[in-house]
């Protein structure tokens, strides 16, 4: 994982080694890098520039993963899919307003 990059919560949990990661959301407390209240696997999280270690808590288990530095802002494949979906939702909203 790289800093200055957007990932989905699911990608981050998988990277941290949680098995059946998709089943954790909504059933366990999920905290990623201090962000609480994560209940959806497609929740997009930006890993702040300069981050070296990312702390992930699921339920009462906490894991820390190493984060590589990155000067360029990037978007993971999973986060790209979520952002594309969000874009389609926005298009529908605008079409409704036009009608």
């Amino acid at each position: 994982m790289k800093a200055n990059t957007k990932y989905t919560a699911l990608e981050i949990l998988k990277e941290a080694g949680y098995k059946n990661a998709e089943d954790k959301f909504g059933k366990f407390r999920v905290v990623i890098g201090g962000i609480m209240g994560i209940v959806k696997p497609d929740h997009v999280v930006g890993i702040s520039e300069g981050t070296k270690n990312l702390e992930i808590t699921v339920g009462i288990e906490t894991k820390i993963i190493k984060v590589l530095s990155s000067k360029n802002a990037e978007v993971s494949d999973g986060a790209r899919e979520t952002l594309d979906n969000d874009g389609r939702i926005e298009l529908k909203r605008q079409e409704k307003i036009k009608k």
């Binding site: 890098g33 997009v44 520039e49 802002a73 874009g87």
Partner: protein
């Protein structure tokens, strides 16, 4: 104490002070945009009407289409022709907002939008406004707080940078002043 700093990016950044104006214009500072067209340039105008960004080569993002790009992506012109919105780099986003705090904090629930300058839920008067966070596939018609662009939650840090593309179009003739930009976030 938390500090917000806004910049108009360019060859050098121009800090946007609290009393400054972000000016959307035609080709040059102070020039009009045709009704229904979008900004060809963006500037920082001081409270006394001076062009504060004149020597900084300010960036500009011009709305081209909502879904005419690759796979339904929005399109933008950042000065070198039309490209997909999600290909624009952070350095080419006109607006950079830095949020910092003495403590390492997360930022969540962050939205960015335009309003009429009085009521945050109200749309700007006679202006069509689009915005997007760097990496977004589509523009958001970010008029009023209910329609704000969702900015990605950021993990804990003492400093957070947000890169935003902005574009505006007049719906009638005349200077538009009932038109302000606003960022709202929760930090903890």
């Amino acid at each position: 104490m938390a500090v917000y700093t806004w910049y108009l990016q360019g060859t050098s950044p121009t800090t946007i002070e609290a009393t400054d104006i972000i000016q959307f214009a035609g080709a040059t500072f102070g020039s009009a945009i045709t009704v229904g067209a979008f900004n060809d340039s963006t500037h920082v105008e001081s409270s006394v009407g001076a062009d504060d960004s004149s020597s900084n080569g300010p960036k500009n993002s011009k709305f081209i289409s909502q879904s005419g790009g690759t796979g339904g992506d929005s399109q933008v012109d950042i000065g070198a022709g039309t490209v997909d919105l999600d290909t624009v780099s952070t350095a080419n986003c006109p607006l950079k907002i830095n949020f910092s705090d003495a403590a390492s904090v997360t930022t969540t629930g962050h939205i960015f939008y335009a309003y009429d300058g009085t009521t945050t839920t109200a749309v700007p008067t006679d202006v069509t406004f689009y915005a997007a966070e760097q990496g977004d596939a589509n523009w958001t018609n970010a008029e009023g707080s209910a329609a704000g662009v969702t900015i990605t939650d950021d993990t804990a840090s003492t400093s957070h940078d947000y890169y935003i593309l902005i574009s505006a179009s007049p719906e009638s003739v005349g200077l538009k002043t009932a038109f302000k930009l606003r960022s709202e976030l929760t930090y903890s």
